[in-house]
Amino acid sequence: MSSGVLAQYDTLHGTVAAIERLRTAGHTDIEVFSPIPAPEIEEAMDIHSSPVRIWALVGGITGCMTGLLLAAGTSLGYPLVTQGKPLVSFPPFVVFMFELTVLLTGIFGLVALLVHARRPVINLDPNYRASFSVDRWGVFISADGDERIKAENLVRETGALDIEVKA
């Protein structure tokens, strides 16, 4: 377990304000627990994008190509003319390309979430508290020595409801 300070807040606004002050004071190793999705926290921590978008794009392209290759390849592999249409009939094949684009975009996106958020895990973070899934926001600042004391004072000033110091 790393040493530091765990502070609990009961408002999103207070949490964001605390993160901003901590970062201004030079604390960059911060973990935040939030009961709700809050882009404000990401902005305060200067996080702007997620690699999920790259995975989704790769999944979509893979799906589209798979749809085309499956429909066209099997039609050419067993060349039986039906409905008087060309063997490689692009318009009906678009449906398969589209469906597989959507399918693999979704699957790749979910895999990306698991990979980048490092889930699933069996044991929860030792700094996690059950109240973080109810109505509390948790801010854990990894720090040692004087830095830890400085962080503790800062979170106290920003109105933290509960403060735990971990040596």
Binding site: P37, E42, R53, Y78, K85
Partner: protein, 448 residues
């Protein structure tokens, strides 16, 4: 939408209230619940028994025969695919448009979507008769090197419906992950382990939310065109055939509008008793129902316009076969289902022009039952009247469903409600994380 927000604020639940109120129904169910569940299981038994009887005796025990080879099974398939549409529509499209009122209804609507697709997916199998040959539709490298015909809309349907089921389930599950963490944190023993596994160890870290929000946005983005594509593909099962009454370019938008219409009606049918039974009045307000009623009014108008357009196109084509097909649809042997369809889907929803009706839950509940019935009849009318009265008078004929088909139809409703009942007592029927997000921002980041 502003109206929904006012109601939520007036009720003033805190974030902790939201956790407690929404998870309250997830407890040991009372006797009444088991009685209803038992009734649903009895209905499933009836349907399953009839299906096994059909498998044993052959498809001849169903009423489908020359010239009507698509009857109750395909009608019910299209009906349930249609019902499935509003769930993802409400979730995805309204999410992209940032409509606040979706928050309390999306979870239930998505669940309804999944159970409806699960129900719909049974019907092509039942309709096959020899169900064990269904794998012929799957593209797999067989010994004979024969593949499905990728130019056939029936194969498109397999891909569209299975993709829709998968994506809807992923979208639903993704939304549930933070709520599973809520359930985990209040559970003990085995429940803790189950909800813990389902939550994947979710802790609401900034990294988790960051990837989650991006994924949810993309899921909504891809689910939106998927919703539109699936019922379009289902409509092409008909429109690509040269059967009079089917071979029309308006089928895709006509079917999509009908699907949204019937799906929203089913959401209301399910949510009114759910809201009452679980005491969720502070979260699912009359404004939510009013907004859904407006959606019904809009789609009812599109559906009614499509009915009229079909007749106009037949008249304007000057094709005697097409004209006769539609004349017979309205005044032939199946006139009663046709006019029942018009009454339920076009006439009854006109009452929704009145705000008082839109906000009256008993009136809405009764109206949506009419719409559910009317939309089943719509599919029946399109399928059966067209096949029964094709080109050659010598091959005209009538279709009457057999008791086997009726039993399976009843069983399908029981199957759908069975899953919905289980869902209502084991998972949060409202998205806890989204409601709390809404509350936190409504209250300016402060709560008592």
């Amino acid at each position: 939408m502003a109206t929904a927000e006012v109601d939520v604020r007036a009720a003033s639940p805190t974030l902790a209230d939201a956790n407690r109120d929404i998870t309250r129904p997830i407890s040991r169910p009372e006797r009444r619940f088991f009685l209803i569940l038992g009734a649903a299981m009895a209905g499933i038994g009836l349907g399953a028994g009839a299906w096994f009887y059909q498998i044993g005796k052959g498809i001849g025990v169903a009423g489908i025969t020359h010239p009507v080879f698509w009857g109750v099974y395909i009608t019910t398939f299209v009906f349930w695919v249609g019902i499935a549409h509003s769930g993802t529509l409400i979730s995805a499209i309204l999410y992209l448009f940032r409509s606040g009122w979706r928050t309390t209804i999306n979870r239930t609507a998505e669940a309804m979507t999944i159970f409806a697709v699960m129900t719909a997916g049974l019907f092509p199998l039942i309709h096959l008769g020899r169900v064990w040959y269904f794998y012929y539709l799957m593209p797999y490298p067989s010994q004979r090197q024969i593949w499905p015909d990728f130019r056939s809309p029936l194969v498109m349907d397999v891909f569209a419906v299975s993709t829709y089921l998968t994506i809807s389930a992923l979208f639903w599950y993704t939304g549930l992950i933070p709520d599973f963490a809520v359930l985990r944190d209040r559970a003990k023993g085995l429940a803790y382990k189950i909800y813990g596994a389902l939550s994947l160890g979710w802790q609401g870290t900034v990294s988790e939310w960051r990837h989650y929000r991006r994924l949810y946005l993309y899921m909504a983005g891809i689910a939106t065109p998927l919703v539109l594509s699936v019922h379009s593909v289902v409509s092409w099962d008909f429109a690509l055939a040269i059967v009079p009454g089917w071979h029309s370019t308006i089928f895709a938008p006509y079917f999509v509008a009908g699907a949204i219409f019937s799906g929203v009606a089913m959401v209301i049918t399910l949510m009114i008793p759910l809201r009452w039974a679980f005491g969720l009045e502070a979260y699912i307000t009359k404004n939510h129902f009013e907004n859904m009623a407006k959606l019904i009014l809009l789609t009812s108008s599109i559906v009614g316009f499509s009915y009229a357009t079909e007749f106009f196109v037949a008249y304007y084509s000057a094709d005697p076969i097409e004209i006769e097909s539609f004349r017979w649809r309205a005044f032939g042997a199946y006139a009663l289902p046709f006019w029942a369809m018009v009454f339920c889907n076009v006439v009854v929803p006109q009452a929704l022009w009145f705000r008082k009706i839109r906000r009256s839950l008993p009136a809405l509940f009764a109206m949506t039952i009419f719409i559910n019935i009317g939309m089943w009849y719509e599919r029946f009318v399109i399928i059966v009247t067209s096949l029964a009265h094709e080109y050659d008078p010598a091959s005209w004929g009538l279709y009457t469903p057999s008791w086997v088909e009726i039993a399976i139809l009843i069983g399908s409703f029981c199957w759908f409600f069975f899953w919905f009942l289980l869902f209502s007592r084991s998972l949060p029927v409202i998205s806890i994380a989204e409601v709390k997000e809404h509350l936190a921002h409504e209250q300016g980041g402060h709560h008592e």
